[in-house]
C-alpha cells in the first residue's frame, strides 16, 4: 500500500481533472485556458494500421513531426477559444452539447517527491460525448497522458497527449476540446 500522501495527491489531481471537465462542459473556455501552461504541448496523433511488431515504431504519428490531429501550443488553443466566442464559428453554432467523462486517473510519476509534488505525470481515460443540432452524435474514446505542474494552490497542464482509438476519423469535425 502506498503512503497516504500519495492517495491525497491522486485525489487532488483527480479533482483538478474533474474541475477542468466541468469548465469545458459548462463552456467556460476562457477559464479553461487559464489552466494551460504557457509552454503547453497539446498533442493527438493520427493512428495507423501496421503489421504486428511495428506498433512501437509506426502506429502513432510523433509529436513535433509531420501531421497529427493536434500538435499545438497554447496560442493556437487560445485562437480556437476565440473562434468559438465569435458566435459565427458555424461548426460550433449552435454550440455542441458535450460531456467529458474522465476515468482511470493514475499518477504515473511524481516529481521531485510525493511530499513536495511540483510535477506529476497523470494517466487517464476519456470519453467525450458530443451531440449537436438534432442528430449529430459522436463519442470519442481514448487515453490521455498529462504533465501537470503545481501552480500555487492549483495546477497547470504543461503537456497533454490524447490517444484517440480511431484510424479514419469517424466524425466530420474535431471542433471540441479533449
Amino acid at each position: 500500500m502506498r503512503p497516504l500522501a500519495w492517495y491525497q495527491l491522486r485525489e487532488e489531481i483527480e479533482e483538478f481533472l474533474y474541475f477542468e471537465a466541468d469548465l469545458l462542459d459548462q463552456r467556460r473556455f476562457k477559464e479553461w485556458l487559464d489552466l494551460l501552461a504557457e509552454d503547453l504541448v497539446y498533442f493527438m496523433p493520427v493512428r495507423r494500421n501496421v503489421r504486428f511488431g511495428q506498433h512501437a515504431e509506426r502506429e502513432n504519428t510523433k509529436q513535433g513531426e509531420g501531421i497529427s490531429w493536434f500538435d499545438e501550443d497554447k496560442w493556437t488553443l487560445g485562437k480556437r477559444v476565440e473562434q468559438v466566442l465569435t458566435g459565427v464559428h458555424y461548426a460550433e453554432e449552435p454550440l455542441s452539447r458535450v460531456t467529458h467523462m474522465v476515468s482511470n486517473v493514475r499518477l504515473l510519476d511524481v516529481r521531485p517527491s510525493v511530499e513536495d509534488a511540483r510535477e506529476v505525470t497523470v494517466g487517464s481515460r476519456f470519453l467525450v460525448y458530443q451531440n449537436r443540432v438534432e442528430y449529430e452524435n459522436h463519442t470519442f474514446i481514448g487515453r490521455r497522458t498529462d504533465e501537470l505542474r503545481r501552480a500555487g494552490a492549483s495546477w497547470q497542464i504543461a503537456r497533454r497527449e490524447m490517444i484517440l482509438e480511431q484510424n479514419v476519423l469517424l466524425a466530420k469535425n474535431l471542433s471540441i476540446f479533449f
Binding site: 493520427v46 509506426r58 509531420g66 500538435d71 464559428h89 460550433e92 479514419v168 466530420k172
Partner: protein, 448 residues
C-alpha cells in the same frame, strides 16, 4: 428518391440551375460509381509514400480500396485490394514494405507486380484448370506518375493523363513544383482521413473556385490564424496575392481552379511575419522562382479541383485532398499535406503547424466548410426541396476563352467553373466518348 431522369433534365446550363437530385439521389450516385469513377483519372497517392521497392500504401478509388505499390524492380502499380479467389482484402495494413501480398483467407499470394504466385496445393488441386496468369491482382489499365503524384483510371480507352489534364497542368504545376520553381520535388508529410455526411461534390465544388463562400469563414478571418497572426494580422493566411489579379479558370475536361495572375513587376510580399527565417526562405524562393520561370512565374495557385474529386490548396496551406464517395450523403476525405522535400526543418515545422490549424476536421477554417456541406446535403434531401434546383447563375457568360491564359477565364468570382464541371459531369453520366469528355471545342459547343 431513386428516380434517375435523363441527366440533361437535371442540369440546365442555359438557365444556370442544377437539380438537387444529383446531390442526394441513390440513383445518380450509382450512375456516378458506374460511369464516372470507372473512367475518369483519379488521384491515388504520391511517390514519396512508397520510396523503396516493396513499399506499398493502401489508397482508394471511388468506393474501393486499392494498393499503390512499388514492385521489386521499382515500377509503380495500382491494384484492386481484393483477392481473385474469394475476394478477401489482401492487404489490411495502411502502409509498409513487403515482397508478397499473402491473402489471410486461403493463402493465395501475389507478388508486388500483381502476379498470382502462391496457390497452396496448386499441382494437386488446380493444375490444368486454373491459369495463374488470368488470376493476377486486378490492376488499373492506366497509371500516370506526374511530378511525384500518382493517378489512375479504370478505363483502358482513357487518354493520356497529360491530355486529360490539358491546360490545367500549368496550375497544377504551381502546386507540385518547388517553391523556388524547380519542377516537382514535393513530399507528403502526413495524411488526414475522415468521414462526413455530405455529398462528395459539395467538397469538390468548394475547391473548384467557390470563392463566394468566403463569408462562411468569417470567424477565422476575424481572429486571424495565418502564419503572421501573432504579429496581429487577421485573416486565414498571408497576403501573397495582394498585387495580383484573381482568375477563375475552367478547363475543357472539367477541371477548374481559382488562381492569381501576378503583375510582371511583382514583388515578394513579406509573409510568416513571426518567423524571420521562414520569411527569408520564401523571399529567396520567390526571387529564385521569378528568375527561373520568368513570365510563367506570374501564375500563383489558390485552390482547384482536377475532375472529378482531386482538390488542391496551392500555397497556404498546400496539399491535395481527395473526396471518396461512400454514399450519396457520405464522403471520406483524404488530405495529403505537402512541402518541398528539401525545405529547411524550421520551414517544414512552421508549415505543418499552420496546415493542422487550418485544414481538415481539426482545422479552424475547414470545420466551417464541413458544417455547411453537411446541412446543405441534409436540407436538399426532401421531396419538396428536390423540386427546387440550386442556383448557378453567378457571372453567367462573364468569361473569355484562352485569354489571358488557357481555358475559360473569368476575372470575377463565378459559377462558370462549376457550370463547366457539371457539363462534363453530365457527359460522363451519358457515357460520352472521350473526345467529348476531354472537351474538344466542337463537342463543348454541342453540349452547351
Amino acid at each position: 428518391m431513386t428516380t434517375t431522369l435523363p441527366i440533361d433534365q437535371m442540369i440546365d446550363l442555359k438557365r444556370g440551375t442544377i437539380s438537387r437530385e444529383i446531390f442526394v439521389s441513390p440513383g445518380y450516385y450509382r450512375e456516378e460509381l458506374e460511369k464516372l469513377f470507372t473512367r475518369a483519372w483519379l488521384f491515388v497517392g504520391h511517390e514519396s509514400l512508397i520510396p523503396k521497392p516493396g513499399d506499398f500504401y493502401v489508397s482508394r478509388m471511388g468506393e474501393e480500396s486499392v494498393i499503390l505499390c512499388r514492385d521489386a524492380q521499382g515500377a509503380v502499380h495500382v491494384f484492386l485490394n481484393s483477392c481473385r479467389h474469394r475476394g478477401m482484402k489482401v492487404c489490411r495494413y495502411e502502409q509498409g514494405n513487403t515482397s508478397l501480398f499473402v491473402c489471410p483467407y486461403h493463402s493465395w499470394s501475389y507478388t508486388t507486380d500483381g502476379r498470382l504466385q502462391g496457390v497452396p496445393l496448386y499441382r494437386a488441386l488446380y493444375e490444368g484448370t486454373l491459369n495463374r496468369d488470368e488470376w493476377s491482382l486486378i490492376e488499373v489499365p492506366n497509371l500516370a506518375l506526374y511530378k511525384g503524384t500518382v493517378w489512375a483510371s479504370w478505363d483502358p480507352a482513357a487518354p493520356d493523363f497529360l491530355d486529360y489534364l490539358g491546360t490545367a497542368v500549368d496550375h497544377l504545376d504551381q502546386v507540385l513544383d518547388c517553391r523556388d520553381g524547380r519542377p516537382g520535388g514535393s513530399e507528403v508529410i502526413g495524411v488526414h482521413k475522415w468521414v462526413f455526411p455530405s455529398n462528395w461534390k459539395f467538397a469538390a465544388e468548394n475547391f473548384l473556385g467557390d470563392t463566394y463562400h468566403n463569408p462562411s469563414h468569417r470567424s477565422v478571418d476575424m481572429i486571424g490564424i495565418g502564419p503572421s497572426a501573432q504579429r496581429g494580422q487577421k485573416g486565414r493566411r498571408d497576403n501573397e496575392y495582394n498585387q495580383g489579379h484573381h482568375v477563375w479558370v475552367g478547363h475543357p475536361a472539367g477541371h477548374g481552379m481559382h488562381s492569381v495572375l501576378m503583375p510582371p513587376t511583382m514583388e515578394y510580399e513579406p509573409s510568416y511575419a513571426q518567423y524571420p527565417i521562414v520569411d527569408e526562405y520564401f523571399r529567396h524562393c520567390f526571387e529564385e522562382r521569378k528568375r527561373r520561370l520568368g513570365e510563367k512565374a506570374r501564375l500563383l495557385p489558390f485552390t482547384g479541383n482536377i475532375f472529378p474529386n482531386a482538390s488542391y490548396h496551392g500555397r497556404q496551406p498546400r496539399g491535395i485532398c481527395v473526396w471518396h464517395p461512400h454514399s450519396p450523403t457520405e464522403t471520406e476525405g483524404w488530405r495529403f499535406f505537402m512541402v518541398d522535400a528539401d525545405a529547411p526543418a524550421e520551414v517544414k515545422d512552421v508549415l505543418r503547424r499552420f496546415y493542422m490549424r487550418y485544414s481538415g476536421p481539426a482545422g479552424m477554417t475547414e470545420q466551417d466548410d464541413m458544417e455547411n456541406w453537411l446541412y446543405a446535403t441534409a436540407a436538399s434531401r426532401g421531396t419538396i426541396a428536390r423540386r427546387y434546383p440550386f442556383n448557378y447563375q453567378m457571372s453567367m457568360g462573364a468569361y473569355q476563352t484562352d485569354d489571358p491564359i488557357p481555358g475559360d477565364v473569368s476575372l470575377q468570382i463565378t459559377d462558370q467553373t462549376p457550370r463547366n464541371y457539371y457539363r462534363v459531369y453530365a457527359s460522363y453520366l451519358k457515357g460520352a466518348p472521350w473526345d467529348e469528355l476531354v472537351g474538344r471545342p466542337s463537342m463543348r459547343a454541342a453540349a452547351e
